[in-house]
C-alpha cells in the first residue's frame, strides 16, 4: 500500500516536472546565501563533577544555507534549499569525560531539497522537514534560542550520578518532546492556507510517514500559533507512532504562553511529555521566560524526568542575540533511588550573517 503511495508520489512529481518544462521560461530568479554562528559557554554540575564547556548551542546550531527560487507563469515556482550545519562541541553531546574538544567535526546535512509551489499547494522532494517536524516546538516567546520544549538540546549528554556512580541514564535519555520525525529523505506535500490553517503529509524511507495540521492567526491583540501531528515510525524506529502538539500565544503587551503535549506509542511504556512556558517580551529588545516539563516512562517505566528552565534573550540589534539560560534536570526513578540533580547554565550569542 505504502509502495503504491510512493509510486504515485513520483508519478505526480514527474508530471509536474513535465508541465514545468512545457511552460514559458522563468521570469524571476533569485539565489542567496545566509547563515549563523551560535556559540556559548556552558557550565554543568552533575553533583559529582562540575565543568566549563565551550559549545555550539544545539537549540539552533551553527550553519549556513543556499536558497534559490525561480518563478514561472501560472503562479508556479521552483526552489531549492541546501542547508548544512557544522557543530564543534554540540551542547547536547557534552559529557564530563570529554577531554579537550570533540574530534571529527563534519558538515551535517539538514536540508537538501527542491520544491514546486503552486496555487494548489507545495510539493517538496529531498532531505527536509517531515510534515510533523516542529509540531511539538511552536514557540512565540522569543527565548527559544536559549530554552524551548527540546530541553535535551542543552546538556542532553550528561549522565545522572548516584553518589558519584553513573546511572547509565543521560539527560537526553530520560526526556524528550517527542517531536515528529525530524528531517528525512522524503516527499512532502503542503496544502495552500485556508483561513490560517494548512495541512501537510510526507512519506520517507522504511515506510515512515506523517501528517500534520497547523494554524496561525493574528487577533489584533494577540498572535496565536498551534499545530499537531501524527508520525508513523515505519520499520526504522523503535516506536510505532507518535502524537505531537504545541501551541503558543503572544499578547501585544508582551506576555506569552506556550504549551506542548506529546506521546509515543511504544510497547509496554508509551512515554509522554508535557511542557509549559510563561514568557514576557519587553522594551523591544528583551525576552524572559520560565518553563517546566515532565517526561514520563522514557528511561524506564514510571521514571519521571522533570526539567525546570529559565531563559533571557537580549537582542541589541536585529542580527545579534545574546542569551543566558539555566536548566535544572531532575530524575525520579521508580525502580531505584533518585540520582543527583544536574544543573546547567549557559551564556552565549547567536549572530546571523
Amino acid at each position: 500500500m505504502l509502495k503504491k503511495k510512493i509510486q504515485l508520489g513520483f508519478v505526480v512529481l514527474a508530471l509536474t516536472a513535465a508541465v514545468l518544462f512545457a511552460i514559458s521560461p522563468a521570469n524571476a530568479v533569485d539565489f542567496a546565501i545566509s547563515g549563523q554562528i551560535n556559540r556559548a559557554a556552558m557550565y554543568a554540575d552533575d553533583g559529582n563533577t562540575a565543568k566549563w564547556f565551550f559549545v555550539d548551542n544545539d537549540n539552533s546550531s551553527t550553519r549556513f544555507r543556499f536558497t534559490g527560487s525561480n518563478d514561472f507563469d501560472y503562479d508556479l515556482s521552483v526552489g531549492i534549499v541546501w542547508e548544512v550545519e557544522m557543530q564543534s562541541n554540540a551542547s547536547n553531546n557534552m559529557d564530563m569525560d570529554l577531554s579537550g574538544d570533540e574530534e571529527d567535526i563534519n558538515f551535517n546535512e539538514r536540508k537538501m531539497e527542491f520544491y514546486v509551489g503552486s496555487p494548489w499547494g507545495k510539493v517538496s522532494l529531498g532531505q527536509g522537514d517531515m510534515a510533523a517536524n516542529s509540531t511539538s516546538e511552536i514557540d512565540l516567546s522569543g527565548t527559544d534560542v536559549a530554552a524551548y520544549s527540546g530541553v535535551g538540546d542543552v546538556g542532553g549528554g550528561f549522565e545522572f550520578q548516584n553518589n558519584g556512580v553513573g546511572t547509565g541514564i543521560s539527560v537526553g535519555g530520560s526526556r524528550s518532546n517527542f517531536d515528529g520525525l525530524s528531517r528525512k529523505d522524503r516527499v512532502r506535500y503542503d496544502t495552500p492556507k485556508f483561513w490560517g490553517f494548512y495541512g501537510s503529509g510526507s512519506v520517507g524511507n522504511s515506510s515512515i510517514w506523517d501528517t500534520a495540521l497547523r494554524y496561525a492567526g493574528d487577533f489584533g491583540w494577540a498572535k496565536f500559533a498551534g499545530g499537531g501531528g501524527w508520525s508513523d515510525g515505519g520499520t526504522s524506529q523503535s516506536w510505532d507512532g507518535r502524537f505531537s502538539s504545541s501551541a503558543s500565544m503572544l499578547f501585544d503587551f508582551g506576555l506569552n504562553l506556550t504549551a506542548s503535549y506529546a506521546y509515543q506509542d511504544q510497547d509496554n511504556t508509551d512515554p509522554w511529555n508535557i511542557f509549559g512556558k510563561v514568557g514576557y517580551k519587553f522594551l523591544e529588545k528583551h525576552a524572559v521566560s520560565v518553563q517546566w516539563s515532565r517526561t514520563e516512562n522514557l528511561s524506564a517505566k514510571d521514571d519521571k524526568g522533570d526539567t525546570f528552565g529559565l531563559a533571557y534573550v537580549f537582542s541589541p540589534w536585529k542580527s545579534v542575540e545574546f542569551y543566558g539560560t539555566y536548566y535544572l534536570y531532575m530524575l525520579d526513578r521508580d525502580a531505584a533511588s533518585d540520582p543527583d540533580n544536574i544543573n546547567v547554565g549557559m551564556i552565549g550569542g547567536r549572530v546571523k550573517f
Binding site: A26, N27, A28, V29, D30, F31, A32, I33, S34, G35, Q36, N59, S60, R65, T67, E83, S134, E137, I138, D139, D144, V145, Y148, S149, G150, D153, K193, W195, G196, F197, Y215, A216, G217, D218, F219, G220, K223, F224, A225, G226, G228, W230, G241, F243, S245, S246, A247, A259, Y261, Y263, D265, W272, I274, K318, S319, V320, E321, R350, K352, F353
Partner: protein, 166 residues
C-alpha cells in the same frame, strides 16, 4: 494507531482553543517555526534581507548575470521580454521620442481641444486634478513615485512603438 487516552486532554484542549480562537475574526499570518531553525530577520553582513543575494533578476545582486542590465536600467527599458536585437538597435529614449512624434501628429486636433478646455474649464473637478498633478510634478521630482511614473511612460511608449512595428 492513535487512541485518545485520558491524559491526552491537553491535545484536545489545544484543538478546542484553536477552533474557539478562529471564531474571533483572526487574520491569518505567516508563522515560521523558530525553535531549532535559523534566526529570522536581518544579518550582520547581509543587511535587512538577511541573506546575501548572489543573483536576483529583479534586484540585481553581488554577481549580476553577464550581459544583464543593472536593475534601474532594466526597469527603465522594461524590455525583459523583448528580443535582444530590438534592445540594441533602438534605445527606450529614442523609441519614446519617435512615438511621441507620431502621437503628436495624430492628436494635433485633440491637443487643440485640450487647450480650449484648459481655458474654459477652470474650477471644474477635472481641472483641479490637473492642477494637483502639475503641483505634484514640481514637488515630486526625484522621488520614487515620480521615477516610477517616468519609467511607466517610457514603457508605454516602447509598447506602442513595438506594436506599430508589427
Amino acid at each position: 494507531m492513535f487512541i485518545l487516552k485520558a491524559k491526552n486532554w491537553l491535545a484536545l484542549l489545544t484543538c478546542l482553543a484553536i477552533i474557539a480562537l478562529t471564531g474571533c475574526n483572526a487574520k491569518p499570518y505567516d508563522y515560521e517555526p523558530t525553535a531549532g531553525e535559523m534566526k529570522q530577520g536581518p544579518g550582520v553582513f547581509s543587511g535587512e534581507d538577511g541573506e546575501l543575494t548572489i543573483y536576483d533578476s529583479k534586484k540585481g545582486g553581488v554577481f549580476p548575470k553577464e550581459g544583464e542590465e543593472k536593475p534601474k536600467e532594466a526597469a527603465a527599458a522594461t524590455t525583459a521580454a523583448a528580443p535582444t536585437t530590438v534592445k540594441t538597435q533602438v534605445s527606450a529614449e529614442e523609441a519614446k521620442e519617435f512615438q511621441e512624434f507620431q502621437q503628436w501628429k495624430k492628436e494635433k486636433n485633440q491637443f487643440h481641444e485640450y487647450q480650449e478646455w484648459k481655458k474654459s474649464s477652470k474650477g471644474s473637478a477635472d481641472f483641479k486634478e490637473y492642477q494637483e498633478y502639475q503641483e505634484w510634478k514640481k514637488t515630486a521630482q526625484g522621488s520614487g513615485d515620480f521615477k516610477e511614473f517616468q519609467e511607466w511612460r517610457e514603457f508605454k511608449a516602447y509598447q506602442e512603438w513595438k506594436k506599430s512595428q508589427q
